[in-house]
């Protein structure tokens, strides 16, 4: 609970209870090892102020002290929201990110992008529709902006504990959104994003992952860059994927040619570079039953058969890359698996042609 410093009763009451609680919960989320870094990035409390706090005490007392310090400095909801954005930026893989692609109408001119205009337009659209909504922005590198939206309704204050995040790269038509639990607000969010960025249409891509940076690499096609060129002169055998070529002359590999073929095919498909990180690939199959035999119960069925296959892995693409060299699958792998970064999809629907 809040501890009121003696003799400061008048000033301490200025911060709203809810905002104070929001500060407390947000700071409590921050791991002790990151506390200093995040507070410094936030830059709301100065060096001097931070030095007055004992960072070696137990976490709950530390958090209490910090909240008090924020109160004394008249921190507002806006400051708290900014801290929340920074926390999320440090812990971006705690959220699952969807990818949206916007497009301009045919024949529309490419206007010069104005960040301030975008921000005010975005905020205006949401406020007009919902009245109670908290919108915060934080600029990032590569002309990107992180947007935090806490949703309310006409009659209810915004819920600060279930915000949506949008990362919009202004020089591109792509935006990444954290899958919010409040799905009903998604159309409004899409609309606001489209109109404010002067686009015409927005489409959700079939691409989803926790790893925002990997999604970025896939969508901006930045994953296939081999940086070092001197490695390409080493012969293929030495660059094999972790399987040692045994120097003991008493061991003879009979299928050396086949092994080299597999390495070569794998390298052609996956390249030398580290793969972007995804955790799932999902394939939904909906086809009618096909049979060589005439008749049979299933052949007469009008409804298509449905099937769902889901591949999961801590690092799906690296796992797929190592399947053939490990001898678990034949090379080349099915194009349905290998097309994932190229097509920018990890959710597929397979239907009858």
């Amino acid at each position: 609970m809040r501890r009121e410093p003696a003799g400061d009763v008048g000033r301490a009451k200025e911060m709203d209870e809810t905002v104070s609680e929001f500060f407390r919960r947000t700071i409590l989320k921050i791991p002790m090892t990151e506390m200093m870094t995040i507070l410094k990035t936030w830059n709301f409390l100065s060096e001097n102020q931070l030095q007055t706090i004992n960072f070696r005490q137990r976490k709950d007392s530390l958090v209490q002290d910090l909240v008090l310090l924020c109160e004394e400095n008249r921190a507002s909801l806006k400051d708290a929201a900014l801290l929340d954005i920074i926390y999320t930026q440090f812990h971006r893989h705690q959220k699952v990110w969807d990818v949206f692609q916007m497009s301009k109408g045919p024949g529309e001119d490419i206007d010069l992008f104005d960040m301030e205009q975008f921000k005010s337009s975005f905020k205006k659209i949401l406020k007009r529709a919902l009245k109670n909504v908290t919108v915060s922005f934080r600029d990032a590198e590569e002309n990107a902006v992180w947007i935090r939206i806490a949703w309310g309704t006409q009659y209810r204050k915004p819920n600060q504990y279930k915000p949506s995040y949008v990362v919009y790269y202004s020089q591109t038509p792509y935006a990444f959104t954290s899958s919010s639990q409040l799905k009903s607000n998604l159309p409004l969010l899409g609309q606001a994003l489209t109109i404010a960025s002067k686009h015409h249409q927005i489409v959700k891509m079939d691409l989803r992952s926790r790893y925002l940076d990997s999604l970025k690499a896939i969508v901006f096609k930045q994953y296939n860059q081999t940086f070092e060129t001197h490695n390409s002169t080493t012969p293929l055998q030495e660059r094999s994927l972790g399987l040692d070529i045994n120097m003991d002359s008493r061991i003879i590999h009979e299928n050396k040619i086949e092994k080299e073929r597999v390495q070569r095919v794998t390298q052609e498909i996956f390249g030398d570079y580290p793969q972007p990180r995804l955790e799932f690939a999902q394939y939904k199959l909906e086809t009618k039953f096909k049979s060589d035999l005439n008749g049979g119960i299933l052949a007469e069925r009008e409804e298509p058969l449905r099937c769902l296959v889901k591949f999961s892995s801590p690092h799906l693409l690296e796992a797929l890359k190592s399947l053939a060299p490990a001898g678990i699958a034949d090379a080349p792998l099915s194009p349905l698996l290998t097309c994932i970064p190229n097509k920018g999809m990890n959710y597929f629907k397979i239907r009858d042609k």
């Binding site: 399987l243 040692d244 008493r250 003879i252 590999h253 009979e254 060299p325 490990a326 001898g327 678990i328």
Partner: protein, 180 residues
């Protein structure tokens, strides 16, 4: 066309050669390393192959023992072994072929039933060994057994032949109807 025959080459002096056939190269490599660590009076040679037939243009010594490695986690590895068996001459199955099933320890990962490999081994009248090759200690023990079997199959152990060994290894617990 190219079929492996047990006696189509002359043996090398004091040499015993084993051929490990299996899809997972890393496992075969580790097993080979473990076998070569064993103290052995014979000169050992280990050939690793993903599948049969072997490339024909290579000069290789006489093969004394073939071990087909099946990973119970992978139907692909079973299918590979089944197809490779067609390239082995029938006379090899007089004690010079053995099956090795790995992965039985992790029951939840097994996609091949234990009985499938048991039936396969019984069809080919050859011994079936179980060993989780991923576990160092088990692998070392299996390597010891294989070295001993290899020496017998190469004729390096006096008064024990591959055929003797085969009849000793045949399981008498569950005789099949045809055997009775």
């Amino acid at each position: 066309m190219s079929v492996l025959r047990p006696l189509d080459k002359l043996p090398g002096l004091n040499t015993a050669t084993i051929l490990l056939v299996g899809t997972e190269d890393a496992l075969l490599q580790q097993l080979a390393d473990a076998m070569l660590k064993e103290d052995c009076t014979s000169e050992l040679k280990v050939h690793l192959a993903k599948s049969l037939p072997l490339p024909s243009n290579v000069n290789r010594p006489r093969i004394d023992l073939i071990v087909f490695v099946v990973n119970l986690h992978s139907k692909h590895s079973l299918r590979n072994v089944e197809e490779s068996l067609h390239h082995v001459d029938a006379t090899f199955f007089l004690g010079k072929v053995s099956f090795l099933a790995t992965g039985a320890g992790r029951e939840s990962h097994c996609s091949i039933h234990r009985n499938t490999v048991v039936k396969l081994a019984r069809t080919y009248r050859s011994p079936l060994l179980f060993c989780d090759l991923e576990i160092g200690d088990f692998r070392a023990t299996m390597a010891q057994r294989l070295v001993r079997m290899l020496q017998i199959c190469a004729g390096h152990v006096p008064s024990v032949s591959a055929l003797n060994l085969l009849s000793l290894l045949q399981s008498s617990e569950n005789p099949s109807l045809e055997d009775l």
